[in-house]
């Protein structure tokens, strides 16, 4: 128990911060209320500090937590300035001009920051999960606050529509993967991931995996596709990203996706990359399922993105495509387990999540920093046209971020993609590499459109935009764009950390702590 407690100190810190924010955010004094963001930042810094030294929690991926939680904290910190001013802006203005008085019931600031932190707490808990129940609760803690954040992020009806869509599909997804978890429990008799792994191992050595277990895994993975916005659960992405405020969209592109990938990595780790003819791939049904999902996700995301005229929808579909890229790393698996970054698919996925999270903040922050005359944030590609003339730093940030997402060497995104490439080649997945390459090329089409609109084209005469009222968002954009370049100086360290984090304890049937009753149950099932 105590070792588990030591593991979740970062989450505890975040939870404490959440409570403080909830109270502070209700203060009648605007200056006090405005402290919410700073307190959240402080909480995240402390959580990162608490997360990094903790390691070796046992389980399948014993050292994943420091890297994952550090990454979550850092990207969370970058999201904070982007989220600033999302809610309560009109209310504050009305109070300041004397038209309204402060009412705790009408203010959303406290909830907004608290839900953000709750979601990150859930995400960190996902990283620490070593049990199916824990995993499920953590995933739900990650997602539930985001449904509300989407709904309250703007005053428009589109956010409400987006929130409702997101919630119902999210509930459906959760039901599906919970069903899968139940089947896995039925097949192995335990909810502990390490014990499940041992049970699966014993089954495969005894002549084949339990069908119910494999079916459960498949169902769970399909359910998790909702979290990562992968085919067939990708339909919501464009509407929700477009309906929500840009800051919240940026968060949706990172937080649930990271949670989903952590969960997928753990489930795949439970069954192990030790099947197939050469004992180095996932079991055939799971392998085929993920293969098809990955390829379909890449093509669907990229092809749909080409046809959009809204930057947010382009980014939403590209986020779908990026999930497809990362699934390639999951299929490739951890390689030899103690190899380099290049042949380790899990390390590649973890590194890619970081590069994607960092870069993605920038693209959405640029959109959030531009305001249309009616007070809405920029959305259509016409809105960012001619940005280099009026706000060159934003245009530059957009250019860098988009090129990094495209995987242009030598930016950060390129190294993320190369990791996926090389790990897939090591695993012998040449057709997938070709699919990945083709899709990177298709992606060039729409990323180039964004880059050209922002950086090169003159402004449309009839489209009017002005600088947004919140300077923090510009800061977020510039921060993200500089990170795309500056993180290269520490790329070595980050890659090494991701390799350490992906350290995978391949399950052994004869593991000392394997409970015998679980194995007996399995046999009874057969």
């Amino acid at each position: 128990m105590t070792d588990k407690l030591a593991l979740v100190w970062p989450e505890i810190w975040l939870f404490v911060t959440t409570c403080v924010v909830m109270v502070v955010g209700l203060s009648p004094d605007l200056r006090v209320r405005k402290l919410c963001g700073w307190i959240s930042a402080l909480g995240l810094v402390v959580a990162i500090g608490a997360a990094v030294p903790v390691a070796h929690a046992g389980g399948l991926f014993p050292s994943i937590t420091p890297y994952a939680k550090g990454m979550i904290g850092v990207v969370g910190l970058m999201l904070l300035p982007l989220l600033a001013g999302t809610v309560d802006r009109d209310l504050d203005a009305a109070i300041e001009s004397g038209k309204a008085t402060f009412s705790a019931l009408r203010s959303n600031r406290a909830e907004f920051y608290a839900f953000f932190l709750f979601s990150l707490t859930g995400l960190m808990l996902t990283a620490s999960a070593d049990d199916l129940i824990w995993l499920f609760l953590a995933l739900e803690l990650t997602s539930l606050p985001t449904y509300i954040m989407v709904t309250i992020s703007t005053r428009g009806t589109r956010s409400q529509e987006a929130g409702v869509k997101y919630f119902f599909l999210g509930a459906l997804g959760a039901a599906i993967f919970l069903y899968g978890f139940a089947l896995i429990y039925g097949a192995t008799g335990t909810t502990d991931l390490a014990e499940i792994a041992a049970a699966f191992r014993a089954q495969s050595e005894a002549g084949g995996l339990n069908t119910i277990g494999v079916a459960g895994l498949a169902v769970a993975l399909i359910g998790l596709c909702f979290k990562i916005a992968a085919v067939p659960m990708h339909m919501y992405a464009a509407d929700v990203y477009q309906g929500a405020a840009s800051g919240v969209s940026a968060m949706l592109a990172f937080v649930p996706k990271t949670a989903g990938f952590l969960a997928i990595i753990m489930l795949c780790g439970a069954v192990g990359w030790t099947h197939g003819a050469t004992h180095d791939s996932l079991p055939a049904p799971i392998y085929i399922l993920l293969w098809v999902i990955a390829a379909a996700t890449m093509f669907t995301g990229n092809l749909l993105a080409i046809r959009q005229s809204s930057v947010k929808r382009i980014l939403a579909y590209s986020s779908v495509a990026h999930s497809g890229y990362m699934l390639v790393g999951v299929i490739a698996g951890p390689g030899s387990g103690h190899g380099t970054f290049w042949d380790n698919g899990i390390a590649a996925v973890l590194f890619y999540l970081l590069t994607y999270g960092v870069t993605n903040v920038g693209t959405f922050a640029v959109l959030a920093s531009i305001q249309k005359p009616n007070g809405e944030e920029a959305d259509d590609i016409a809105d960012i046209r001619g940005l280099h003339g009026t706000r060159p730093h934003l245009a530059g940030a957009m250019l860098l971020c988009v090129l990094s997402l495209l995987g242009m060497p030598p930016l950060l995104g390129f190294f993320g993609k190369v990791g996926l490439f090389t790990s897939a080649i090591s695993a012998g997945e040449i057709p997938l590499v070709i699919v990945l390459g083709l899709n990177s090329a298709i992606a060039a089409f729409y990323y180039l459109r964004i880059a050209r609109a922002a950086y090169l084209e003159p402004a449309d005469e009839h489209v009017e935009t002005r600088a947004g009222p919140i300077p923090q968002r510009v800061f977020a954009a510039v921060l993200s764009a500089s990170a795309v370049v500056l993180l290269l100086t520490v790329a070595q360290m980050l890659m090494e950390r991701s390799v350490t984090a992906s350290g995978y304890h391949a399950p052994h049937a004869g593991m000392a702590d394997t409970p015998h009753e679980a194995l007996d149950l399995t046999r009874a099932d057969d």
């Binding site: 030899s336 387990g337 103690h338 190899g339 380099t340 970054f341 290049w342 042949d343 090129l403 242009m408 060497p409 030598p410 390129f414 190369v418 490439f421 090389t422 080649i425 090591s426 040449i430 590499v433 070709i434 390459g437 083709l438 990177s440 090329a441 060039a444 089409f445 180039l448 050209r452 090169l456 790329a491 070595q492 890659m495 090494e496």
Partner: protein, 563 residues
């Protein structure tokens, strides 16, 4: 010194961005001239110290991501040195050619990217690490995209997008092929348990570890990237569009250097990494090259747009370059390397001339304009001179390269025995007389279309578009240009002209002598390795053995962890 040549243009690029727009062209001129001076020293020092035992000089390496085997390493052999020289020479020339064509308020964008482009191009030739090479190779796309998209003519958006997407798609597939090779060498030969990115190591081992089937696939992947860049028929459709729409400096760099990245990559990677597949499939590639030579030549014949004509002539000429490369003998490969340089000089100059003419008349249509010999004698003199060089008039630089490429293809035959075999594999190769013959008809076509162009443009009665001055001048925004070339414009053409004569009259003393030993070593290497490719069984055995060692290590580790 090499690193300096990559970093200096970048620094000057930043300076251009920070200084006021009026100073941009001066900074760009200063930067490129300084690089040219350093480059001249580099070339001089290289050939002063050249010896066959030390093919690569000026080597430097900086461990960037050491744990991953990623080094920023550079080094040059004679071929790379000469191509770097060409790149640096074209630098100030491009700045000079753009002096009045680029409106001042956009000058920073243009010259900034021009300098970045120069850094990337030098990086490609200097790279001794696969990822450094790929990074620079890919990064040339962006500046060129901006140049075409922003400073091109009417159809520029389409041209820029097509250029970027076409080449980007190809390069990603080429990357997959290169990375696969890096993986195969890493896991089967060097025992680094991962990827070998060092080009020298790759070259040494790749042909020993890739099976015949793998070599064929890697060849296909690499050709996807490099053949698009060259461009080889039928991947050439982006080029005429990009050339026609690009600004003059963009066309010069595109024709002069960027296309050579493709042939250089073939010389550096395709030939030595997968020699078995190259030998087997060389006839197929050569046939594509020959189709390109003749087909593009015929298209040139019916062109009315003079810039498009020069662009298609590039496709035709680069066909010779690829043909010589895949002849796989000393004559062919030497000719091909020569062609990379000489085509850069003469076609670059032709694009300059077309650009100067366009700046005055704002049309490139040969139906509207012609007979300029009467009005622009200096321009016409240069035009005739460089067309002759491009046609391959003996005595000028085009001739030795075209002749060697065609001869290389002609004598490149397994059964050919006559002729002075000075070196290993001087004549032996996979093509044959018919290939040489077919390519030879391309020379005739080239003479027809280029001379027809000169006839229309220079001789005959003077034809000018109805409105050329006045109305369009607000568009240029620059100072009014005199009727004939200015001293500045002559200065951009003169150095190229001098080199054309020197390389034409003394090819052996200058270029061939410089690259002889490296090219012969390359050809000998390819011949030595082309016969053998490991069988699948051998490759798997090497990998299994390697894997067993690795697994043994892992078992020990696990045993160590367990009490």
């Amino acid at each position: 010194m090499l690193v300096l040549l990559i970093l200096l243009p970048l620094l000057f690029g930043v300076a251009v961005l920070l200084r006021p727009p009026a100073a941009a062209k001066w900074w760009a001129l200063g930067g490129t001239s300084l690089c040219l001076a350093i480059g001249a020293m580099l070339v001089g020092r290289f050939f002063a110290n050249a010896s066959p035992d030390v093919p690569f000089q000026a080597q430097g390496s900086f461990a960037w991501l050491p744990a991953l085997g990623l080094n920023l390493s550079v080094g040059i052999d004679s071929v790379a040195t000469l191509l770097i020289g060409l790149t640096l020479l074209l630098g100030p020339i491009c700045v000079g050619a753009s002096w009045t064509a680029i409106p001042q308020h956009r000058a920073r964008l243009f010259y900034g990217w021009l300098l970045v482009l120069q850094a990337a191009m030098v990086g490609v030739f200097a790279a001794r690490d696969l990822l450094v090479f790929y990074t620079c190779f890919e990064f040339t796309l962006l500046p060129m995209f901006v140049m075409i998209n922003e400073f091109g003519s009417t159809n520029r958006h389409k041209a820029a997008t097509k250029f970027f997407l076409y080449t980007f798609t190809g390069s990603i597939i080429a990357l997959a092929g290169l990375v696969y090779t890096a993986w195969a060498v890493g896991t089967r030969a060097t025992g680094v348990d991962g990827f070998t990115l060092d080009i020298a190591t790759l070259t040494e081992h790749a042909s020993h570890v890739l099976t015949a089937r793998e070599q064929a696939l890697v060849l296909l992947a690499m050709l996807c990237g490099f053949a698009v860049k060259v461009p080889l028929f039928p991947f050439h459709t982006w080029l005429p569009l990009a050339h026609t729409e690009a600004p003059t400096a963009g066309s010069v760099i595109l024709a002069g250097v960027l296309l050579k990245l493709g042939t250089y990559a073939m010389y550096r990677f395709v030939l030595p990494l997968v020699p078995h597949a190259v030998l087997e499939h060389a006839p197929a590639v050569a046939i594509l090259a020959i189709i390109g030579i003749i087909y593009a030549g015929l298209i040139c014949w019916v062109q009315t747009d003079v810039k498009k004509l020069v662009a298609y002539s590039s496709v035709s000429h680069l066909g010779f370059c690829v043909l010589g490369l895949f002849a796989l003998n000393s004559a062919g490969v030497t000719g091909s390397v020569l062609y990379m340089l000489n085509h850069g000089l003469s076609t670059g100059a032709l694009f300059l001339l077309v650009g100067f003419m366009y700046e005055r008349y704002h049309t490139r249509d040969m139906r509207e304009i012609g007979g300029l010999g009467a009005k622009m004698p200096i321009w016409s003199t240069f035009m005739v001179f460089f067309v002759m060089s491009s046609v391959g008039l003996p005595g000028l630089n085009g001739f030795p390269s075209e002749f060697l490429c065609t001869m290389g293809a002609f004598i490149s035959h397994t059964g050919w025995t006559s002729g002075a075999a000075r070196h290993v594999g001087a004549t032996w190769g996979p093509l044959g007389p018919w290939f040489g013959f077919a390519a030879g008809t391309g020379v005739i076509v080239a003479a027809i279309y280029l001379l027809a162009m000169v006839a229309k443009m220079v001789w005959g009665t003077l034809r000018e578009p109805a409105v050329h001055h006045g109305e369009h001048d607000h568009h240029a925004g620059g100072p009014h240009l005199p009727v004939d070339l200015t001293a500045r414009e002559i200065m951009t053409l003169l150095p190229i002209g001098v080199l054309c004569i020197v390389f034409g009259l003394f090819p052996t003393q200058t270029l061939i002598g410089a690259i002889e030993s490296d090219v012969n070593a390359q050809v000998a290497f390819v011949h030595e390795r082309s016969g053998e490719a490991p069988t699948e069984h051998e490759a798997h055995f090497a990998q299994q053995e390697h894997r067993q060692q690795r697994d043994a290590g892992r078992d020990e580790q696990i045993a160590g962890v367990k009490p």
